[in-house]
């Protein structure tokens, strides 16, 4: 045994001696040490990466332990972790911000350059940049949504519209804080409480804010049961919360089939910029309601949706690099996000109260707050609060109307902002 070991050591020494002329041991060691993430963390701005890694771990904790929107928060947080690993080079912010968007750069809008030189997350990010992922997610959302309560009670559309107040109030507030129009619109869309719509609009108008906006949108969506109830109780009396609503009429299958086709045509004729989101939402819904393509409907609800969620979440998290995230504007965005959610909920409730002044059959104002998208969480909150006031109150299906109207409303709002501010 001893002889074999000595032989191996001798062999190593001889081989090192043979290659000594071409192989600089010291230089190689130095290169290796320099490339180590541990060394990069403790040099220059490396501490920022450590802060971001800690933040990513905190978000992972929220997703796993507290189960705050884990389906999206987990990939987002892990994407954030991957992008901030020093030296891993999985995502290149400079490639997207400095080269891709600069008209004078030879790589202006060059996806070929991204494919050739980019890391794993750069390549996956192309789907975000082109607006493909949010639209694919909307197909899945459409296939999982029942528009029956909205068709049965079309007035719900108005509550969905009123809840978009949050978007526009935040738009003005962001202006006041000094953000430009495109950044303000991207921040305002957080009030739509719709992740894919927020990502879609931000990618088009202010891609450098994608990380904080996506994280704010998804975090606050998970916090809907915490944010909304105090606002609901503040703006309504106990008598109003106790209002019982009549059962909705039955919606025929024909109505459910014609609805997505009609909505797509009407919205696209008025607002073509909203057509990608609305069109995909309604395509998914038609797949479900037609009943003739069950395989496709199941695929978009499960496999397609899950795959896109992984890609979208990871790459959106990857945009939250230390250089873009650790900025005073991120704190402003997080603060304005919560304002957007609060105002949106208040807008829906107040409008429901206004509607009650003119309606014979009163509606419970609690369903107004479901006008922010956040399907079906916001509708569940309306149901819970309604039952607290009156145990015989079943508001879930009534609240689903404004809830799905909010999805359409926020997509329409995104379309308007895109048409006003887009290039």
């Amino acid at each position: 045994m001893k002889r074999i070991f000595c032989f191996i050591v001798m062999l190593l020494l001889v081989s090192v001696g043979c290659f000594a002329d071409s192989f600089d041991f010291g230089e190689a060691t130095s290169k290796f040490v320099d490339s180590m993430g541990l060394v990069q963390v403790f040099s220059g701005d490396g501490w920022k990466s450590l802060v971001m890694i800690a933040l990513a771990c905190f978000l992972l904790f929220l997703a796993i332990k507290k189960q705050y929107e884990p389906l999206l928060l987990l990939p987002i947080a892990f994407g954030m972790l991957l992008t901030n690993l020093p030296g891993a080079n999985m995502f290149h912010t400079e490639m997207w911000n400095d080269e891709f968007l600069n008209p004078e750069s030879p790589f202006y809008h060059s996806y070929r350059h991204v494919l050739a030189e980019g890391g794993l997350l750069d390549v996956l990010y192309i789907g975000v940049k082109t607006g493909v992922y949010p639209c694919l997610i909307f197909i899945g959302v459409g296939a999982m949504t029942d528009f029956g309560p909205l068709i049965a009670n079309p007035k719900s559309f108005l509550l969905g519209a009123a809840a978009q107040l949050g978007i526009f109030i935040t738009f003005i507030t962001a202006h006041a804080l000094g953000f430009n129009s495109m950044e303000a619109a991207s921040i305002g869309i957080i009030g739509g409480a719709d992740g894919p719509t927020s990502i879609f609009l931000t990618t088009k108008l202010a891609p450098h804010l994608l990380g904080p906006i996506a994280i704010a949108a998804y975090s606050y969506m998970a916090l809907v049961p915490v944010i909304q109830p105090p606002i609901m109780r503040l703006l309504t009396t106990k008598k109003e919360r106790m209002i019982e609503m009549k059962q909705l009429r039955t919606v025929s299958k024909t109505e459910k089939i014609i609805f997505p086709i009609a909505i797509t045509i009407v919205v696209a004729f008025i607002l073509p910029d909203a057509a990608p989101l609305i069109g995909c939402l309604m395509l998914g819904n038609l797949m479900k309601e037609s009943g003739v393509v069950d395989r496709l409907a199941k695929t978009v609800q499960n496999e397609l949706m899950n795959i896109v969620v992984i890609f979208l979440g990871t790459t959106v998290g990857a945009t939250a690099t230390a250089s873009t995230f650790l900025d005073i504007s991120t704190i402003s965005i997080l603060c304005m996000g919560i304002v957007a959610f609060g105002v949106a909920s208040a807008g829906g409730i107040i409008f429901a109260k206004i509607m009650n002044l003119f309606l014979k059959e009163k509606i419970n104002p609690l369903i107004g707050s479901a006008g922010v998208s956040a399907v079906p969480m916001a509708a569940r909150v309306s149901q819970t609060e309604g039952q607290k006031a009156n145990p015989h109150n079943f508001l879930l299906m009534h609240a689903m109307g404004p809830n799905v109207a909010g999805v359409i409303g926020s997509a329409v709002a995104a379309g308007i902002l895109l048409s006003m501010l887009g290039k």
């Binding site: 559309f157 978009q164 129009s181 009407v266 900025d327 329409v412």
Partner: protein, 121 residues
């Protein structure tokens, strides 16, 4: 990124806000009218169908009774199940689920204090 407040062109910002919110409302209001008209039309066509019913055979009667339940979507079934669950939860009073035994030394049933049992000893 954050500029000075004075740089904001407020007239533009307010115009965009008003126009944006107005258009959202207008588009969704149009959709309300579309749906109302659509609902009226479908109800009218439904009435026409009921005015001229097909002769029902003996076998079709039980099928017709089952049809509404069979045609209910998964969401409807979930809503019905939720409503029933919440209703039956409220049938009974809520109890603390804490079982306690209160020891009363002066109870007439207390073994040691009861002279009858003591005398048996």
């Amino acid at each position: 990124m954050i500029n000075i407040l004075a740089d904001v062109v407020w007239a533009d910002a307010w115009a965009r806000t008003g126009m944006g919110f107005g258009v959202v409302f207008a588009v969704l209001l149009i959709l309300v009218f579309v749906l109302v008209a659509f609902g009226l039309f479908s109800r009218m066509s439904g009435k026409k169908q009921t005015q001229a019913p097909k002769p029902a055979s003996l076998q079709s009667a039980p099928q017709a009774a089952v049809a509404p339940a069979a045609s209910a979507s998964d969401a409807d079934k979930a809503a019905i199940a939720t409503a029933l669950y919440l209703y039956f939860q409220n049938v009974h009073d809520e109890e603390s689920n804490v079982i306690t035994i209160q020891h009363k030394a002066n109870s007439a049933w207390h073994h040691e204090l009861n002279p009858r049992y003591n005398s048996v000893k």
